[in-house]
């Protein structure tokens, strides 16, 4: 049931203690955390730096504003409701479409406007935020799943998690929602994690519940065939998030919108454990390599992406 720590360290696996102390603690300035912990701030920052994000529709900041959301939602068919300070995908509601007075969630559940109001009220009071502090509600456009992911995701949008260290993408993973994960892309809830080759964006390895799998558990499509389109563009987008936030060690969550291309979904200041299992190897050697690198020569996102595509390839 257990794996020997020697074997783990041989695989270069990054443990939580090491990540927290040697990378997050050392390279992420605390005063920059709000930039990633608050999705609204991330969004504004991304707009400043011309990093694409899903289109923001409106923000609810106070309880009394909830009364007028009926008009605001009037001409929207599908949309996503997110707590600005939520973590781990908590409190995110995806409304795919309407049926009469009812709204249909991505899980298929029918809800009413009152349910949405209550959800927003809870969110504002801090139900989903760390430490229960007051929160804001973001309402933004739905992401349209790109055709290339057709049949790979169940009830949810696949997203791509890229760990970026000093602007160098060091590891990538595609997360596919499953029936077990209730349409959410969280690995510990049962989503499929697909490790991606940094040079090509092709599948290296796939896991669900920490165990290797060959095909999507719901749609039965073989995961080996996955190849993320516009891979260079994805990596460049991820790399630019470093210039944007100045956080040394971040996880960048990207989505591929059918119409708008790669978009930044959110940033995470504490990433990097599950992605290693999905890839089947550890982060540590790559992190140490970048640590030793003379990074002054790689000021542009393009240069950094070139470097990782060259050095961190696992497929030939």
């Amino acid at each position: 049931m257990l794996i020997s720590p020697l074997r783990l360290s041989k695989l270069g696996m990054l443990g939580m203690n090491c990540r927290n102390r040697d990378f997050i603690g050392r390279y992420n300035r605390r005063d920059l955390y709000p930039l990633v912990d608050n999705k609204l701030l991330t969004k504004f920052l991304a707009q400043e730096h011309n990093v694409a994000t899903p289109q923001l529709q409106f923000v609810v900041r106070e309880q009394h504003e909830i009364v007028k959301i009926e008009q605001q939602l009037a001409n929207m068919n599908g949309f996503a409701i997110k707590p600005a300070k939520g973590s781990g995908g908590k409190g995110i509601w995806v409304i795919t479409h309407r049926e009469g007075d009812h709204f249909i969630k991505s899980s298929g559940a029918e809800i009413t406007l009152d349910d949405i109001r209550r959800h927003m009220s809870n969110t504002l009071a801090g139900l989903y935020s760390l430490g229960g502090v007051n929160d804001e509600v973001i309402v933004e456009d739905l992401i349209e799943i790109d055709d290339c992911f057709e049949g790979y995701s169940f009830e949810g949008v696949p997203d791509i998690r890229i760990v970026v260290f000093h602007g160098f993408p060091v590891m990538a993973m595609l997360r596919l929602a499953t029936h077990a994960s209730d349409g959410k892309a969280n690995l510990h809830q049962g989503a499929v994690g697909v490790g991606l080759d940094l040079a090509t964006g092709r599948c290296l390895n796939a896991v669900q519940h920490g165990m290797p799998i060959e095909e999507h558990p719901d749609t039965k499509r073989p995961l080996k065939d996955i190849k993320v389109p516009d891979w260079h563009g994805m990596l460049t987008l991820a790399s630019r998030c470093y210039d944007m936030t100045e956080l040394g060690y971040i996880g960048v969550d990207l989505v591929l919108d059918a119409n708008r291309g790669p978009e930044l979904l959110e940033l995470n200041a504490r990433p990097g454990l599950a992605i290693q299992v999905a890839n089947g190897f550890g982060l540590l050697p790559r992190l140490r390599q970048i640590e030793k690198l003379n990074r002054k020569h790689y000021t542009q996102a393009d240069e950094r992406v070139e470097y990782v595509m060259q050095h961190f390839s696992r497929l030939d």
């Binding site: 794996i3 783990l8 102390r21 139900l127 920490g210 454990l273 299992v277």
Partner: protein, 507 residues
């Protein structure tokens, strides 16, 4: 080792060193026992002075032990109705003085002292004491010279001279010279003192009290001390045994009369004694009230504050358990330090009733909370509602428990209500979002940490050490700092990453 880490390791060493040394110094100087419940013997000695008063003013002067080797005075008092009492100190010579303006007939004065046996070490004397001048009558003088010549010929140093003299003075083997000296004029001890002084060995008569449990009417016995090699050596003038035997209290050492009674006659000094055992901790508190360590100790505070500190000083241990379980083991808990608060509550309720009532309260709270979610309340109001409900729950459980005859019912009130309300809220959200499985994991993890912390805090040795040697918490601090530097894998990660064992080795 990383060079930059040297200051850190230095800090750790200093913390551990300071903690352990301070604790050791406290132990040695104030004799706070390292193990709880340690008992120590104490001699309770009662000196009794009887005399017939002449009817006028009375002054009774009794010599008291100054620095009795092998014993330490912890308490003394006098009980004598109608008498003024004082302990006079004059050039390191302590004397008790009883005074009364008018007294007639048989008078009895008492002096009580408590002594504890300690390790005796010879007291170094800087100045060599002067020889006493010796006077003999003419025939005795010759006999003494002869006796000394014989003893000196068979000895090499003052101690052996004394031994030989005692042999010669033994009545069964005494020769003519010895018999001449062994008259009623001098006691054996006095004789020995005179002879030794004549042989240029400073010597003096001392009065000793042999301590035996539950003896009454004991009198002081004369012994001899001779000065040899910088310190006084005790010799039994009867048996010739050298050195201080155990249970021998030197009452008076070479000073003036043991007992002076002015205004009375037929005075008599007798002793009775009893051996008691008392807790070492209580003894230490009585003895060292003005010691620096005692002043910095918790015992100088009022009892109420003491019991608060008893809890406070246990907290670091609980914090360390939490750090260990989270950093090294990787256990999930609901709220970082909530388990410590629960374990402190367990200390009041004891384990099983505590566990049962905690699970009962949280379980009922979760039921109530599931109703609250229909009411669509604002978060703060919802938690406030929960607090009120938790208080009601606890009161009802206490009352029901009391009526059913469980005393534990009342102690439920020690649970931190606000923490419990928050726990219920968190658990409830966790239930809605992640399912009951996660609730069981985190709730179980919290309870496990709480139980482990409780079991540790409940060890008598640990609570004794943390309360009496608060500086040991520096060692705990050092351990926590060290665990804060641990970057290895958690035990839980060995399970989490177990699928990696299928992976072939990376290039």
């Amino acid at each position: 080792m990383n060079r930059g880490k040297i200051p850190f390791y230095l800090l750790i060493t200093v913390l551990i060193g300071t903690g352990l040394t301070t604790a050791w110094l406290r132990h040695t100087t104030t004799e706070v026992p390292l193990i709880p419940g340690e008992q120590k013997p104490v001699w309770l000695i009662e000196g009794r002075v009887d005399f017939y008063a002449d009817g006028g003013a009375v002054t009774v002067n009794l010599d008291l032990p100054d620095q009795a080797p092998g014993f330490r005075l912890i308490r003394e008092q006098a009980a004598s109705p109608g008498y003024g009492f004082a302990v006079l100190e004059d050039q390191n010579n302590r004397r008790a003085e009883w005074t009364k303006r008018e007294a007639v007939g048989l008078q009895t004065l008492y002096y009580n002292a408590q002594y504890i046996p300690v390790d005796s070490r010879p007291i170094e004397v800087d100045i060599e004491p002067e020889l006493q001048t010796v006077f003999w009558s003419e025939p005795q003088s010759t006999a003494a010279r002869e006796l000394l010549r014989g003893a000196k010929a068979r000895s090499s140093n003052p101690a052996s001279t004394a031994r030989e003299l005692i042999k010669l003075l033994n009545p069964s083997t005494a020769d003519q010279n010895a018999e001449l000296l062994l008259t009623k004029e001098f006691s054996r001890a006095e004789l020995l003192v005179k002879l030794l002084n004549q042989a240029d060995v400073p010597a003096r008569k001392v009065m000793a009290l042999k301590l035996e449990d539950a003896r009454r009417r004991q009198v002081l016995q004369p012994m001899v001390e001779l000065f040899d090699d910088g310190h006084w050596l005790l010799i039994d003038s009867m048996t010739g045994e050298q050195g201080l035997p155990q249970n021998l209290l030197l009452w008076s050492r070479g000073e003036a009369a043991q007992l002076d009674v002015l205004g009375g006659q037929n005075s008599r000094l007798t002793f009775s004694m009893i051996r008691q055992t008392v807790p070492a901790l209580a003894l230490s508190q009585v003895q060292f009230t003005d010691n620096l360590f005692s002043m910095l100790g918790v015992y100088s505070l009022p009892i109420e504050e003491q019991s608060m500190f008893k809890m406070l000083f246990l907290l670091p241990l609980g914090a360390m358990v939490v750090v260990f379980m989270r950093v090294m083991i990787g256990l999930k808990t609901a709220g970082t330090f909530m388990p410590i608060l629960i374990s402190l509550a367990f200390l009041q309720t004891s384990l099983i009733p505590g566990l049962v009532s905690f699970i009962l309260i949280v379980g009922l709270g979760l039921l109530l909370r599931s109703y609250l979610s229909y009411l669509n309340l604002l978060l703060v109001a919802r938690i406030a509602t929960l607090i009120v409900l938790v208080i009601f729950l606890i009161s009802i459980l206490s009352l029901v428990g009391y009526q059913l005859g469980f005393n534990a019912g009342i102690t439920i009130t020690f649970f931190p209500m606000i923490i419990i309300a928050w726990t219920i809220e968190r658990m409830s959200i966790l239930w809605e979002e992640e399912g009951p499985h996660e609730v069981l994991i985190q709730g179980g993890g919290s309870l496990l940490v709480a139980v482990i912390a409780y079991l540790l805090m409940n060890v008598q040795l640990i609570s004794h050490l943390s309360f009496n040697f608060p500086e040991l918490n520096l060692v705990i601090l050092a351990l926590i700092l060290m665990m804060g530097q641990y970057t290895g894998y958690k035990l839980s990660e060995l399970h989490r990453f177990r699928s990696m064992s299928h992976v072939t080795d990376a290039d």
